[in-house]
Amino acid sequence: MSLDIVVFGAMFVVTLGAALAMLFARNAVHVALLLVLSQVGLAVAFLLQGAFFVAAVQVIIYAGAIMVLFLFVIMLLGVDRREALNEPLRGQRQLALGLGAVLTAQVMYVAWQGVDLAFADGGETVLREINSGDGNVLGIARVLFGRYLLPFEVTSVLLIVAVVGVMVLTRRIVSVPPKPDNETPSLESEEVAV
């Protein structure tokens, strides 16, 4: 038994187990920490497949930055709030589980079809060529800053738009008393009422 198989098995169990435990964790903080565990497991999966740079980015950005943002918001809104686990809509749980089973079957089928297509012309040798040459990071840089330069620049626009949008959304509105001659209440006066 090769070491790869052992590592893959452990990663599979940890990643999927953490994801399944997320379904049953009541506390939002527990859900966030289980998601971090699942993401670290996925980083191991990336490492196993030769995506070294993606694995590092996965740990730094996803398990680091994004989950800290989640935890920050959870703490800001109060951790002690627990979600009631009973479902007011009758039959919604069963429907969701049935849909999940159908979706699992579909995704598995499509995945296996994809494997068949990829290996139709004896693709075993292809598997080893991915990091040949200068290595993973340089290879990614060549693709990202060569063929995908324009999409890369567009993502910076997306990030700027997101930052500005969030600043506009969460700005504190200074409360001014509504003018007496104003028929429709303005946004500011609505803030006062709330």
């Binding site: 090769s2 790869d4 893959f8 599979f12 990643t15 999927l16 994801a19 997320m22 379904l23 939002a28 859900v31 966030a32 998601l35 699942s38 993401q39 996925l42 990336f46 196993l48 497949q49 995506a51 740079f53 993606v54 980015v57 996965q58 996803y62 994004i66 943002l69 989640f70 918001v73 800001l76 809104l77 709030r81 009631a84 007011p88 969701a96 589980l97 999940g100 979706l103 995704v107 995945a111 296996w112 494997v115 990829a118 693709g123 292809v126 598997l127 080893r128 060529e129 991915i130 290879g139 990614i140 060549r142 990202l144 063929r147 995908y148 993502t155 990030l159 969030v166 959304l169 709330v194």
Partner: protein
């Protein structure tokens, strides 16, 4: 490079994606629903990396970065919206947010 067949990685990604879908459907806390969306995006990243390995080029790994950027922007905007809703309603339950107009 591992000898484990890509099919097993694809199976793991599919299962993670399904768990994410079921979580979005079952849970009612808005932040928790957001975290399940993150789980789905992660599963898609695993699909991309596995397909990159199967095809023998790095474009799938580059696509992961674009998914990452979109996920970051989506999380920032979504959490800001959740924050605003929670301030007004004092509740994170998505069942309570059923009116378009306050």
């Amino acid at each position: 490079m591992t000898e484990v067949s890509p099919g097993y990685f694809l199976a793991l990604a599919g299962l993670l994606f399904t768990v994410g879908v079921v979580g979005v459907l079952v849970r009612r806390n808005a932040i928790v629903i957001f975290m399940f969306i993150e789980l789905m995006l992660n599963a898609v990243n695993l699909f991309f990396v596995t397909f990159a390995r199967m095809q023998g080029n790095l474009e799938g790994q580059v696509l992961v970065f674009f998914v990452l950027v979109v996920a970051a922007a989506e999380v920032v905007v979504g959490l800001a919206l959740i924050l605003l809703i929670a301030r007004r309603r004092a509740s994170l339950d998505v069942d309570n947010v059923s009116l378009l107009k306050w």
